[in-house]
Structure formats: C-alpha cells, structure tokens
C-alpha cells in the first residue's frame, strides 16, 4: 500500500484540511528511500491506532531545522482520514496573553479530541510551544508539564488518539525528559548528498533548475565549491533557494553559491 500512498492524497475531514495543506506548501518530494520509509512508518502507526486496542500512540518526529518535519506530519495526518485532526502550531498560540492561556488552549484541544472516536493531533515545534530559550535556560514549565502529561494520557474508553509531535531540538527534549513520553520516534534527516539534491531539483516545480541538465550543473558547481558530495541542508531551505533563484539572471550559479554556503564545513561545530 505504501507504494501508492503518495498518489492518492485525500483531504482530511473538516475545517483543518486547508491548514494541513498549508503546512506542506510544496508537497512531498520523494528524493530518497528514507522519505518513503518515514511515510510508511507514519501510516503504519495510523493503521495501528485504528486496529489495535491501545488507545494512545504518540510519535516524535525529530530532525534538523528545515528538514521537512512539519510537512511530513501534515502529510501523514491528511492520509489518515481520521474524523478529528488538529494542528497545534506556535503560530496558533502566539496571540494568547501568557503561558496559562496557551496551556488552557492546548488542553482544550486535547479534551475536544477525546470526544471523537478517532483523533489525530499534531503538536508542531515543541521547543517553541514550551517557549524554550537556550540562554538561561528558560521555558514555560506550565506548558511543559501539561504537554508531558497529555503526551502520556490515553483518551477515555472507546476513543483512540494518535499524537504526532515535531522538534528540531531532540537533545534538549531528552534533557527535559520529554522524549521518554513518546511511544515511537521518527528521524527526519536533511537532504544528505548531491544525488538526493539532484532528485529534489528535478522533481520540484517548473523552474530552470528542474531541467535535468541544469540540476546536474548546479550539483557539480556545489561539489567544486565544497569539495564534497555531502550536503546536509534542509529541504525547506533548498526549495526556497531554488524558487528565489528563478528570478536571478544565472539561476544555476546563484543557487549553487547559496547552497554551498550552507553546507556544513568538515571539522566545524
């Protein structure tokens, strides 16, 4: 079934559908087997929640910034066809007065979910939800405690809940003991090498870089500048750079320069 999953994206039920699509503005490009495995795993958990007796399954999607965590969680949610799907993002709570108001809102959504027989909640960007700041360090313990409890609390009998949470601060989450609250984890890697990058470019949109020859050229230019096949740049960054490049007079060169700058140097941090 996973083989054809990508073709048959059907919108989830209700008002949240647009919101989910909004979280994956450029769709899902299958630039590596890893992506397919992530989707397979995600949809397997969806299936389990439907068929198993266990009332709660919680999955942590973690990976570097811009690697596509939010989009993948949204994709899995869309594919789930669950009657209740809700996406809780930092943007959806930014307008609240303080941490208590934020916590109440989050708790309210969980309570709503508990009323549906089958629910899926995405908690996007946990570090932002708990107001994490590395200096201090500081965070909202109020929200953190609520989330850690909600991540482990099953809905009442006759109800099932799947939680998908994302973070680009896995190490912090481990220090805070948040990781142990999850049943399962999915690693979402950045685009790792030039082969994958080429895949991304040729499969993305209609700009000049999607031409196989230009894509190859761009990759070679990056190889020359960095002296390595390794890329390790998030897909979100790559797609945004590719789109901006369209407006440049020399898209290939401009794109290659920008990406090469982002490739982590060996021996650095």
């Amino acid at each position: 079934d996973f083989e054809h999953a990508l073709e048959e994206v059907k919108p989830a039920f209700g008002t949240d559908d647009a919101e989910l699509e909004d979280a994956m503005p450029d769709g899902i490009i299958e630039f590596s087997d890893g992506i397919q495995r992530i989707l397979q795993d995600g949809l397997l958990y969806v299936e389990h929640v439907k068929t198993q007796s266990k009332r709660l399954t919680s999955v942590l999607l973690h990976g570097p910034q811009s690697s596509g965590k939010t989009a993948l969680a949204a994709y899995i949610a869309m594919k789930s066809d669950f009657p209740f799907i809700k996406l809780i993002t930092p943007a959806s709570v930014v307008g609240f007065r303080d941490e208590v108001a934020k916590k109440d809102y989050i708790h309210k959504i969980f309570t709503d979910a508990y009323k549906s027989p089958l629910s899926l909640l995405i908690i996007d960007d946990i570090e932002r939800m708990i107001e994490w700041v590395p200096v201090g360090p500081r965070l909202s313990n109020n929200i953190l405690q609520a989330l850690m409890t909600l991540f482990k609390t099953p809905p009442p009998k006759g109800h099932k809940l799947l939680i998908l949470a994302t973070t680009s601060q896995r190490y912090v989450m481990e220090q805070l003991d948040v990781v142990r609250a999850f049943n399962r984890q999915i690693a979402v890697p950045a685009v790792s090498d030039l082969r994958e990058l080429e895949q991304v470019l040729t499969k993305f949109g209609d700009g000049p870089l999607s031409d196989p020859y230009q894509a190859r050229q761009a990759c070679q230019a990056i190889q020359q500048q960095t002296g390595t096949d390794s890329v390790m740049v998030g897909i979100k960054t790559i797609l945004a750079t590719a789109e901006t490049a369209k407006l440049s007079s020399d898209p290939v060169e401009w794109f290659a320069d920008q990406i090469a700058e982002q490739v982590p140097r060996r021996g650095s941090e």
Copy 2:
C-alpha cells in the same frame, strides 16, 4: 493468602473502580517471584493499616520508567477493599490553572479521605505532580511542600490512611528529601532477563508471541543481537511492543528488533 490473591481481584467500592482498572489495562502478569513479593508486601501494609493502631502508613513505589509502578499500586488498591480509594494522577490535575489550584485539589482529596474510617490514596508520578524538570532545575515548591506535609500527617482519631505513591525519579526524590517522608519503600524493577521476558510473552494475551515456541524464538533473537541475557526493559514497553508486533508481517523479528534496541548497552550511561 498471598498465594491466591491474584485470582480473586474484586473491584473496590464506588466510582473509582473503573479508574483503577484503567490504570492496569493489561492486568498483572506474574513474570517473576519479585512481582509476587511486591504484591505480598503491598497487601501486608493494607492488612496492617486495618489492624494496627497507627493511623498513617505511606509507601513509596519506585522503579525505572514503564516498570509497572502505577499498575501495581492500582492492583493493591483494588485488593484493599477500602471504602475510600482515590487515584491522583498527573492527568487528573492537568486541567487546573496553576500550581495553587493543583495543590488545593490534592489537599481537598486528602481532606475527603480523612472523613472515611479507612482510606487509600494513590499519588501517581510524584515528579510530575510537583512539576519537576531537570533543567534549572525547576519544580512547584507549593505542591512539593504540601505533599511532603500530607505524606507525614496522620488522619484524625478513629481514621486510618494508606498512601501509595509512585516515582521513577528516586534519586531526585532523595535530593528533595521526599523519600524520608515515607514509612516504607517498594522497588519495582524492570523485566530483568530473557527468562522473565519469556514469561511475560507466554502469559500475555493471544497474539503470535504468546505461543511458547515463538516467544522462545524472540528471546533467542534478542540474545543474538545484544549478546546478553540481560533485558532491563519495563513491562509496559514490552507489552506495547508485543501488541504492535501483532500487525507486523514477521512479529517475532519485528518484536526482537525493537526490544533489542531498548536493552541498555554495557558501559553506556
């Protein structure tokens, strides 16, 4: 009496019965003598509270994550037949506004308990109750102080109270001087070796892994991957993995892979 205790589980009186069963969704599997000893000790304390003149007995169940602390406390509570039983969990206080509201709620339940001639309270997951977070470190001193006082305060004359509290952060509780507030302690270990694991599998449910041959196969596969007989994984994790494995095409292999990954490596942390 302890020998036959497991057969004759009778529900506790009142509205909390379902709640207690909910805290041990997979029942209690006797996978080792240790489990029986824990139940014996727990029920002995129940007996003492009934027959002794001492008005307060407080017991701390401590052990690694997922080792079954909550389920065992709930089991002992169910077996107690006390007229007043109440389970205070992080989930039951997550909706409160702030630490003061949480503290008031907890205090209210203790006050209610003091009105019954014979009461049993479970305070589940003390570290979550006091909003502990290792970074900082942070906690709710308001709730901590209330709990430390309530753990040591006997009910009025003519009333008896048994407190069962659980924690997977015994070391933290010692640093906070919480441990000394308890009369008794019960250690709840993880499933320690393959022999115990095999017991768990064969005694649990009706899936493929409960077949003795498959269970043996799974254990051997784990042995091969880890190179040791030691397991040290909590029963909750084992049961959840076993249930998910049912949906896999090769349950034995999938189960063995997952558990092997969780077995603590020698020399690591």
Copy 3:
C-alpha cells in the same frame, strides 16, 4: 522536682490539649538519662519564663529525623500549665493558599499569644514552615523573615512568651542565620546504642518485643547483622517498626532485619 515530672502529666488548659497529646502518640519513654536532662532543661525554661522579668525565651530543639523532637516539645508544653498554648505545625498551614496566607496565620497566632499573660508556642519543623527545599535552594523568604523577627520580638509589658521550635536541619538553619535568633538550644539525639534500644523495647507497649528476653534477642540479632553496638535510629522509627513487627510471624527477626537496615554504616555518608 524534675525527678517526678514524668508521673504527673496534667493536660494544658483549653482546646489544644488533645492536639498536644496527638503529637506524642506513644508517650515519652525514658530510655536514657539524656531524655531526662532534656525534660529538665525544658521545664527549667518554663520555670524561668514564669519567674524571670525577661519577657521572651526561645528554645530550639534540634536533632535527626524521627528522634522525638515534636513529642518532647509537646510534652514540655503540656507540663507547663500555661494558660495559652498553641502548636503550629506544617499540617496546620498546609491548607493555606500561599506563603502570604501562611505568614498571616502564624503572625495572627503570635498576636493572640501576646494577649495572654503567659503563653507557649511550639513552631514545629521550621524547615517545612519556611518551605525549604535543598535543590535550588528554595524557601519562602516571606515566612522566614517573619519567623526570624517573631523569634526575637518580646510580647508587650506584663506578658511572657516561651517559644519552642523544632528542626532536623540545624545546619541549614545556621546557614540561614535562624539559629542565632534563639536564646537556648536543646539537642535531641536518636537512640544511640543497643542498651538504649533495649530500654525502649521493654518500656514500650505490650507486644512480644516488650518481653525482656525477646528484646534482648532482637538486640543481639541487630548486633550480629551490623557488627556494632551503635544504633543511631530515631525513636519514632523504632516504635513504628516494633508495632508493625507485632503482625509478623517472627516479630523478633523481622524487627531486627528492619532496624539493622537503618543503622548507619561506618564510613558511609
């Protein structure tokens, strides 16, 4: 007079009498000369307050956990025959909303005491009153400041006040500069050796262990397990263990095992 003090315990005037008795549920056992000296000292201070012109005397009873501090303070208070006696315990303030409410309550009791010509106040467990927690470290400065001032403020002319405070955290109290607020100190030691332990057992209650032969057996069993005559366990722990032992099939062995476990090992912490 001190020689016969123990025989003639008369209840203090008013509603607090039951409360005082409640604070020494097992009475006062004279298991060593030290106990008599503590009571002599305490009653001497009572006498001084009555006859001296000094309006305020404050005494700090300090000693390890469970050594009997609260019971001894309650005993001295009962013997004082003062018209106004009040016991302020952590349990009596646990229901208050926050530190300000607690502080107001404490201040109110002192103000009430100032109205009586002769008053005695017990402030039990100062570390809990000030909400001390070693991690942080944290405390309620609001309550601490009030207590430090109240411990040093004499009542108005024509009034006398005796303050008995207890703590098992003398070192912390010294760091917080609380100790200097007291006029006098009384050290309350744990049961120090097997000879004292034997005294405790034979003088306590009617269980099997109060039989001289059994008591001697228990002490010998402890000696064998620990390899020392030293005990250093609080009387509260010893009495609670002795009471629970009654229900055991082999009280002597069970009691010896439990106590031996509590005896501090040489060289440890």
Copy 4:
C-alpha cells in the same frame, strides 16, 4: 535598475512615510560599493516578494552600533512602494506597561499586515524589543517567543509579507536561536577605512568638512593619531561628530581628535 535607485526615492504610501524619513535623517550616502550592494540585495528581496509565490520573506540586517542599519532598512522600505509599511521601534513600545502589552501591540501590527495583500514590517533593534540585558542575562521571553514565531509565520493565502529586522547583537541572536528564523541576512559594516571616511565627509552636507581639502586634512590627522588607515566607526557617529564640529573654532582638528579616539586600537577587545 539598482544603479539609479538612489535618485528616485519615492515616499511609501500612507501615514508611515514621515516616520521612515525620520529614521534616516541624513539620507543615505554611498560611501562604498558595499552600500550599493546592500541596497541592491534589499530591493531584490522586495522584488521577489512581489513576484514569487512564497508568502513570507524575512531579512536580518546586522552590524555594529551606529553603522546605519535602521536607515538602510527604512530606505529599502520607502523604495518598496508596498501599500502597507510599518516600522516597529523600541521607541514605539516604550510607553507600554509591560512585556505582555508590548507583545500584544507587536502581534496586532502583524495581524494588521496580514490583511494587506503586500506588507513590509521593520522590526528595529531586536535586542531592545526583547529587552535584552547582558547581565543576568535577562530578556522578555514572552516577546522573544512571539517574535520567533512571527518571523517564521507566513500571512494567509493571497497575502505577502517582507520582514526587515535589525540588530547590533548578532552573536546574542545566534545564541538565542533567533538568527535561524530568518531567510536572509545582510551585513551592515561600519565605515572601514580613511578612503570611505573621506567619501562620507565630501558627500555630506555643506559644513567645512565637506570641502575636499579639509576632508583630506581630517583624514590625515586621524591617520597620524592612530597610525593606521583603518577606521571602523559607524556612519551615525561620524555624521554626528561632523555636525558638532561645525560649531568648533577648528573643525578639522576637533573632528579628527574625536574620531581618532573612537578608532578601535589593535589588540584591544
């Protein structure tokens, strides 16, 4: 197009125009190619926002104190001709009661911007907005979290937003993880050497120092005092000093003295 950009400064639409001009009281002097490149980049991003499908572009202008960050951001905003332009400065929030009121105001402006098809927001001096103080260190996590979320949240469909933010504390912003919230960065350097300084002087205003000969004299005097061609002083400081110098009896000498004092010594911090 960039070549002629500086000539055709047209005011932005609406009430914010005066405010923008106020943020660049001495206009923009092209004292180096770097300045032109900054403006080119800025206007390129303006163009992209107009033509691209991406709904959000966020740019961080960073550089030393007084280097002209605010003026350059204001200039780019004026040139954008966007229908909605708003400048959020520390001065615009200084009157608010507390961090919550400030955060609400900032959030309100973003919400307003989301209603326009094409908006540009300048968030000036992020370190001041988040109430950063190096000692402690302290900051308003409330405002920080809101900004970090708002910097990454695109407006609704059919709307476009360009964010220009300025900071002279890039290192702090990196530690706080703020930098990663931006799509693009523009470095705004100080006036780096005497050649650039001469350009600034001759192109600025009508005072004595704008006379080429006097400007050259001033630069030589500085060279003699500092023993280097390097300057590294912000343009704002240079222009303010030049204006004050007009009132001096010997403008060249006074100006040279003042600037020489500001030139960072080699080997010093």
Copy 5:
C-alpha cells in the same frame, strides 16, 4: 556635657517614648570607655543636626549580634529631645502583607518626619528590614532601593533629619553598597575582656553576680575554662545569661559555664 549625660535621661516627646525605653530594657551600663565614646559621638551628631545648616545626617551603628546597637541608638534618640522621634524595627513591619506594604510604611514615616522641623529616625536591623537571607542570596530589592534613597535624601528646606541605622551585617551592607549612603559610622563592639565583663556584672541589677566577689569568681572560672582574658560576647547575651543564672542553685558556676561556651575559640572561624 557628655560626662553627665547618663544621669539625666529625659524621655523624648510623644508616644514613642515607651517604645524607646522598651528597646533598652536593661538601661545602658558604662562597662568601658568605648561606650562613653559612642554616646559622645552620637550626641555630638545630635548637636550638629540642631546647629548646622546641613539638613540630613545619617549614622550607621554596626557591630556583632547582641552588642547593644539597638539600645544605644534608642538611648541617643531619647537624649536628643527632638520633637519627632520614630523607631522602625523589623517587629513593626512584620505584620505587613508584602515588601511593597513594608516599603510604603517606611516611606510614610519618612514623609511624616519631613513635616517636623527636627526629626530623628531609627532604622533598626537593616538586614532584617531588607529581608536579607544569605542563602541565594535573597533580599527585597524594593525595600533596599527605597532605604538607599531615603538614607541620602535630605528633608525640605527648614527641616532637619537625623537617621540612626543599625546592622550586625556590615560586610553584607558594604557588598550591597549601603554603607556608602551614610555620613558617619559608629562601631559597637562586644564586651571584649574579663575586665569589662566584671564591670558589666557589678553594675547590673541586684542578683548574686552583682556582688563584686561573685563577679570576680565568675570571671576567674571563665578564664580557667577558656584559657584567655578575651570574651567577645555581646552585652545582651551576658545580661540574659546573668538573669537566668539567678534561678540556678550555683549561679556563678552556671553563668561561667554558659559564657565560656560562647567565647570564640582561637583559630576557629
């Protein structure tokens, strides 16, 4: 004039007179020339305030615990004959809700004082006023800031104010920069040697120890126990101990034992 000052103690005007006497319950004993010098200095400042044009004089009396700081300040105040005298002690603010209420009360008294042509304020025990606690360390910055400002703010034209403040934490006050707010300082030492102690005893009250022979005996006993002539114990402690000794069967021995215990050992902290 200073020679006869001690004989002619006249009460200060108004309601505060009793309060001042209450602050020196055992009067002032001239046990050394130092005491006379302190009183001379204090009364000199009183004189200066009356005759000088300077509107504000602030004096810090500092010394070890129990050395008589409060009594000496009260004595100087009584002798001043100022129309407005007020004693602000920790006890006078202990009933206030929080630091803001305390600060308002203190400020109110200063404002009242500003209305009198000649005022004297005693701020007793600054460390307690600012709610200092060494662990943390913690304090009320609200009160500290108000005091530091009030200690330096002269009353309006035509008004004079003398401030006497006491502290036994001079080192802390220096760290907090409080000391610099004072114009003058007076050191109040403890009773330093056996000669002074003998003076104290013979000049104090009518108990057995005031008999010259007994006093001498007591001093010799102390000398024997401590092996030194040095005493370094506060007069308050000495007088309290002497009063309690009256009730003992052997006052001299009991007194000597108690004091010897308080004499600081050489080489110890």
Copy 6:
C-alpha cells in the same frame, strides 16, 4: 564666554528652579581647571543643542561617589536657560509603588519634554533609577529598557532635547550596554591632591578652615598622616566634613583626621 560663566548664574525658567539650586547646596567651587573644563563642555553641548539641527544630545557625567556630578549637572541646567528643565532623581520616584509606576513616571516626563521646543532633562544616579544591586546582581529591567530607549529617542520634528545623566557606576553601565546609548561623556573626578583641597577650603564658606593659614595647616596634617599629596576624596565629603568641623574644639585637627581616614591607601583596592 566660558570664562565668565560662573559669575552670571541665572535661574532657569519655571518651577524647577528651586529644585536645581537644592541639588547644589554649596554652589560650585572652581578648585581646579578640570572643573572649568567640565562646565565649558557642558555649556558647549547646551549651545549645540540650541544651534544644531540634531534633535537629541545625551551626555553621561560619571565619576566617583560624592565627586559633584549632580551639582554640576544642575549647574549646567540652570545656565542653559531652556524653557523646560526637569530633574529626575531617585528621591522623586521613591514613593512609587513599583518599577512599572516608576517607569511610567519617567516616560511621562520625557513625553512632557517632547512638547517643549527646547528641553533639558537630568536623570540623576542611573544606577539607583534602575534599582541596581551588585549582589545577584539585580535590577529593574523594565526601567533599564525604558531608559536605554529614551536615551536614544529624539523628540519629534521642531523639538530639541538635551539629556544629562549621572552615574558613579560607570563600569556597571558599560556592562549593561548603557554607556553606548550616550553621545558624549564627561568625567567628574574627585578632589585629587592637597593643592586642590586647599583651594576648596579657602574658597568655601566662612568657617575657620577657610582661613588660608588654617587651610594650609589642615593640608599639612593630612600630608603627615597619609604620607602622600594625593587626596582622591569627593568634594561633597570634603565640604560636609569641613562644616561639621566648625563645631569641633580643634577644627583643623578633627578635619585632618577625618579626611586622612578617607584617603585611599596605596595598594589597597
């Protein structure tokens, strides 16, 4: 013009005049060329504000305690003849409830100033305004942030503002990044040597020490006690000591003793 500035002190316009005089109760004594240079600089900035187009000038007067910072700022303000002059001191905000009320008051005065075409504001003792305390360290970030913004925000078009701020904690202000908010700095040194001290004495008032011979005697006595010509004591301290000395029987000796005590020892902190 600066040469005759000191003779022609004319009061500033409006209600603040008395307040300014109050801030320099002993006038300004020209005890060194440095004082004249400070006044020249200050009045030059006044002139610039009047004639320049720049709308905001901010000057930081920094120097050791008691060196005359407040008096010099007040003097410059009086000489400015600006229509709006306001002195914001710690004493003027001490009565406010909390930091928010203080901040609102300060902000209100700036807003008032913005309404006048030509304004001068003195912010006296910034460290006290921001409630700085070195232990912790602690401060009011609310007030600090407001001040840092207000120090850099020019008034609206057609308005001019001169800010004079004082501090004796320049190092702290640098750590807090406050210093960079100022356009100009003026160092206000203490009285540095005996020659300057002699000037101060002979030019001050009508007491015995203003007699040239006595002044010389005093200086020689200090020289003998300290073994150095260096003084480094603030003028405020010197004048207060000289005034108190008038009442002494031997003013010269008493004065010399007191000052000698204040002279910083070589090698000490």
